[in-house]
Symmetry: D2
Subunit: 463 residues, 4 copies
């Protein structure tokens, strides 16, 4: 029940004669990371074939388009849902014919200094088709006179700042590249084919490896450029040092699929641990624990296990919701939320209920859910969030609302409690969150909770 | 993860100027009962307006079609998914112009002696458009010279045998009618409108009442004909006595939404009770309990509560699956199941796992799921079903496979265990099931588990 | 540029393993007779296969649907464009399963006593799906206890009155049947197949025979029932005598394709003859003759040949017009007509122009065309119609406007001239028309011009 | 019945608050010049709004898209039909954001040195999205550091060679620009609005002016840059001199609509004059003259007028043909041609027929048409072409087949006559053609007939 969205999924594969179909499956498994558009580029001999379109993976591709996407290597991309006028021009992978040959690029993240680079490039005569930051990278690559593509990438990395997990396809190689902070996840796996050979697979999340039967090997390291050709595999580091990594903690809180391993840790376990920490920090005398489905389920299980309160599916979610829904003109109480969520009176009536959700952004949905639970007869509603109050926007690839729309940016916890109508309200502390995701071994970015951004923001926060 | 489907949802509403839109919502909430086609007929003054089509509710109706469906009363229908050549002719509600005026009918169930009646009607000159049993009822109504429509329904009820929960719309009334056995659910609710008046709502399941904010009042009784007109509300009984009711126990086991009340009992609670009974009957020394999502979740919660074994989401379900999916030509291990279900190794590895599902039909899916769980590292897999072995087909409106395809019709429990590859296998006993659904107050049909059919089958079992 | 439409095209074929595809071609060639819906039923062994839909032939059928339409015999139908709520139920061929087996029927014409028969059938318990008169025939057939289908047809012919050219397919025969008046055309041809055998082809117009390479043999006679089975060909007469035939003269004036032979005469030649007669009757001193394209072209050629005035394409027609066109909100002079027709100033400027069209119904289009011609600089506009003033509606299968909307029903020729803004106006005389179509050998219905209807109208003229 | 296609229509309008809808109409009137894709860009205040898509004008635009295309100025483009992988990227108008602001460009013609410029631009870091020559112009404009857009256009004109009729829209002006040879037509008109103001209209053909009620004023001169802003209208000349103009004679022979004025002359009159010249040059003893419809009609009228032989529509064309047509697997004699054309035996039987078409390219269609005419019973077939033998490809914007596929490039007239099966064959002489189009006042390009190309071809003829 969140109102923001991740900036996409990437995928790459090398060494499989059904590379296009594998990319389709890899994108399918990562559909939750982007529903606006989907695209695949394959490498067939030395030629690029591509297909992209608006909609879900299953809508964009059909048997005919996959049949056309021949080749032994591919990259793919899902884009998140937004509104805008030139959507198809923003769909990825983006392609260009450079002096060094064809190149296609798929990007998860956000380049914070894209605007300045873009303006400079336009003044030098570059023509931009869309409005996304990734096109800047393509132009930087095209403007570099070097014919050594890897060197070209290294040069570009000196100019761009921010979050990027790339899969890139040229006329002879598949490349995976990740910014030095490691904001977004990017993993490497291998898949044994029937003929005995082994393909290299790159994906945003491990759930994509699982679906196609690939084995997770390791993360692409922050600051690493990894590539594979017919000759072999190579890895170098970008010449740009950062103090420590800044993995996006929101991947664990909300974005990633619970069955993925992200930043070396099971998302499901991280969420359960958040629930446990939350129970330790904010115990309350109650009769049962219920999740806001589906995002709050693991944390609620953790809360239940730690607190000893029984876990119940007090709200049932309807999964048949499509993307358009026609509303009646007369008002139906709590209609907007009830389309998806139905509370169970026989469970809730007369009970003191702990309700667990992953995070709280605007507060309006939480308000509606609490009303729903009360109308089903709950005696007390204790709202518990498995993350701290969201006080800042993200500039590294998460489409959060503007700061003003974040309720915690201008209201105290008590004011929020009053607004959403809970009997009690508690958020997980930043320390509790860090402990749940295992921050000792890893450096995390929690700027949306703390306001401490790991990079310069190039004025993005003032727009 | 079941391979059979219910025969539809019905809906009816009287006394709401947005009756068409309310029917749309009521069908939407009951989408799980039928995805092949959907249709609505409204009563506008004395005229019927109708719209139906193939696909999900959200695909069949748009703003324009709902705008056209004016009127103060409506009935609607969702049909289950099947293959066939003349699908649109079978889509419901079915309509006709009788001597007494327009009539439209929506049917959940199956009329077991439809074939014989149909043949007789054709020999008398009736023309059938589709191949479904409901058309028979329309022809029986049209052939009766009486102009008293309720009498006409009573007369027809003497001729038809089997399962029927009808919503019927004429030129001046909304009718709900249920067979004397009460095979399929049918409920009556009321909804307060903004202007203070109250509309009458009929639905297969209470979840449809919940969505539109209607209050559940009572079930339409087995053998009851209930109707509402501008003058008032009426109720009579069909002149056909049966020894005891035969509510479909499978509604509780699998079909109905967990947030519905069916046959007077919460489906979610019934399923949890099945899990508890199962734990009592078939305890096993294990480390954790996991459900086959989503259908096995409530029973697994019950099993966990009763057994004290921890509950975990050991398998994560991907809800983005559409209706078509393109497979790669190369084999990917367990691909068919993995598209929907991803096991979590970090939870399962080295563990003795109790896996709970609602029922077992062909056994092939269970086999795949168990392979998946083993490949994720589980040490032992103890499969538990929250219902008895399915040994017989249903002729009362559930599209079960033929008897030969039901694995339990020709294999012992031990043989099934071997086939699906479990370390142990146990089914809930018929007594345990009856105890879970509260059969003392209610008579249930469990013919698919016991072979005891409450009615003559008119040769359907020999086809 | 006419605003009325014919009631359909029919087609039938026996003895071709690509019967379905031949029907597709036959309907395609007859697209001008009906654009609302199209349908084909084939006979595969003893089973009927069918496909119909709304739209043009090329929209309704695709490779997949034609592939499914297997069989050695087929009938097909195009329906004219209209508005209505239940279009698909009215699409033909109509099908039913009778006691004698499957039957499908395609109809061109209109049964004038359909309403009375329909009401009687409903009172006897028949259920009607659509609102068209053809369904009445199906019910008459279904109600007859005889198992001799041809006898059944003969019996039905005693009850129905009006215009009908049928192609009918049963489980073992293809039938062509035409009313005793012969209102609508119906022709028989034969086509030599590659394997040496010969198929029997039935069509409304000979242009359908031409496209598939069939040879015209003869008309189906008025009052004839012709059928073909695996055993042979048969022909009988309906037991209903009429004084003389009543071929629809409007087929020659406007409906039929100019390259068809209708009622034994070339439509193109008939139209040229009308133009010649018109020039004899209504000569005028002018500089050139131009047609209203495309319907006025042959008559204008005839007028030019007879009068000696030069023929010019003074108005060019744009054939790219689709069925929807979005208009600007600001007014553009004569926009509605200019979308299709562009006058050529360099031809018309300063000239005295004879403009020839086929007929005049409401007068509004003629008014716009004359304005267009004047705005292009013509000095004088002499409007000539190749048929008499239309004063009555048609009840035999032509969708003419109601009587009140026919300008000639309430205005004199001089008043019409004034209304449309011509310098002179002349219509072809009824005698001239009859002479052009060769009425001596044939009896024609010209009721729309003369008001003399050949049959009782059963109150249709009072509705 | 031609197998080549023009390279597009352009349109522009300034000073109309319904500029987008006017562009829609202007493109609609010019649909014959391009059916692959269509697009419109409007100028709303200082912002560009755009919509383009694959298909006919009526398919690409709907009420919603036109509603969005607000603004007081617009340009539009229709693209011809071809095959290719990246069609949407080639659809025009092409847009870019330059340093000087937004620019959109619509192009009719072909730039012969595009390939060399393109390669140089890529080596300098430009990224190309599509494969068409127009994108080169956009990049030339973007690379020029000047902020004076008109100067930028003048500079670019020094670099590009070939055929171009442009409409261009910037943030504050509408520009029309035509190459010094004047290969492709481009006209200027004005339209009086209801509110008394006057809009400026640019189009490829005058038929676009006619539809929206604009008055033709003059041609945009070869080598002229004309523009209009809120301040006024301006015109300058490109600094590039050519000896004489090279208007494409094929516009008169085939491409343009007969109701257009092109290069100062009525296309219809030019075609009639060709027919007259043809009759003078190649008289033959015959019974009648028939056109190949629709392209041969005006020339056949001219031939008939000059020769005194009667004109007949001996072949009727079916205008209902869509873009896909499913063929039967069995062979039907002359099927491919009969789908569109039906010969009339009653006119042709036993006759000596002069058949007039506009031009002959591969000869295969002519061969089929002649077979068709003979099968309809013609005694003699004298084939007459209203243009000389086509011996060379066009590189100035006409999609002619490659030289090898032009039958006249390797066969003599006598050999062609034998191939197509005519009793006699004659082409209009180059002199006759020039006399018909009035070449004395105007310089024409007839390179496809003469091999004399007015510009360097930059190796295009060797590809």
């Amino acid at each position: 029940m969140k109102s923001f969205h991740d900036e996409c999924a990437v995928f790459g594969i090398w060494g499989d004669n059904e590379a296009g179909r594998m990319a389709y499956l890899g994108l399918f498994a990562q559909q939750h990371r982007g529903q606006e558009s989907s695209g695949i580029v394959t490498l067939n001999e030395k030629e690029h074939l591509h297909h992209k379109g608006l909609g879900l993976v299953g809508e964009v591709f059909d048997e005919a388009s996959l049949e056309r996407l021949k080749g032994h290597a591919a990259i793919g991309h899902n884009r998140y849902s937004t509104t805008g006028s030139n959507l198809i021009a923003n769909a990825q992978p983006l392609s260009a014919m450079l002096f060094s040959g064809p190149v296609a690029i798929a990007h998860n993240g956000n380049i914070v200094n894209a605007k300045a680079i873009r303006e400079e490039l336009i003044s030098q005569g570059s023509i931009f088709q869309g409005t996304n930051d990734t096109e800047v990278v393509l132009h930087l690559l095209s403007r570099n006179p070097t014919r050594d593509f890897i060197q070209n990438l290294k040069d570009s990395a000196q100019k761009i700042e921010g979050a990027y997990s790339f899969t890139i396809l040229t006329g002879d190689k598949l490349i995976a590249m990740r910014d030095p902070y490691g904001f977004r996840p990017l993993v490497l796996g291998r898949r044994k084919l029937e003929n005995g050979s082994v393909s290299v697979v790159i994906a945003s999340e491990t759930c994509a490896l699982d679906l196609i039967g690939a084995k997770f090997e390791r993360e692409i390291e922050p600051g690493e450029i990894f590539w594979v050709t017919h000759e072999g595999e190579y890895s170098i580091k970008i010449e740009k040092k950062v103090e420590k990594t800044a993995h996006c903690v929101f991947e664990h809180v909300y974005f990633s699929r619970p069955d993925s391993f992200v930043f070396g840790k099971s998302v499901y376990e991280a969420r359960k641990a958040m629930g446990r920490e939350l129970a330790k920090e904010s115990a309350v005398d109650a009769d049962l624990v219920i999740p806001v489905p589906d995002s709050g389920v693991p944390a609620a299980l953790g809360y239940s296990a730690e607190s000893g309160l029984p876990f119940e599916l007090g709200i049932i979610r309807n999964h048949y919701i499509g993307r358009t829904f026609i509303q009646p003109s007369q008002s139906i109480r709590s209609f907007g939320v009830k389309i998806k969520l139905n509370p169970q009176s026989h469970i809730l009536r007369g009970k003191r209920v702990v309700v667990v959700d992953d995070s709280l952004v605007r507060g309006t949905t939480s308000q509606k859910i609490i009303r729903l639970i009360r109308s089903a007869g709950a005696k007390e509603v204790h709202f518990r969030l498995a993350s701290p109050p969201t006080t800042g926007s993200c500039y590294y690839g998460v489409d959060t609302p503007k700061r003003e729309q974040l309720i915690a940016s201008h209201k105290s916890v008590e004011e929020i409690r009053e607004f959403i109508g809970a009997d009690s309200l508690a958020f997980l502390s930043p320390d509790g969150l860090m402990s749940a995701v295992g921050s000792k071994e890893r450096g995390f970015c929690a700027a949306c909770f703390t306001g401490r951004y790991p990079t310069d923001l190039y004025g993005l926060d003032k727009e």
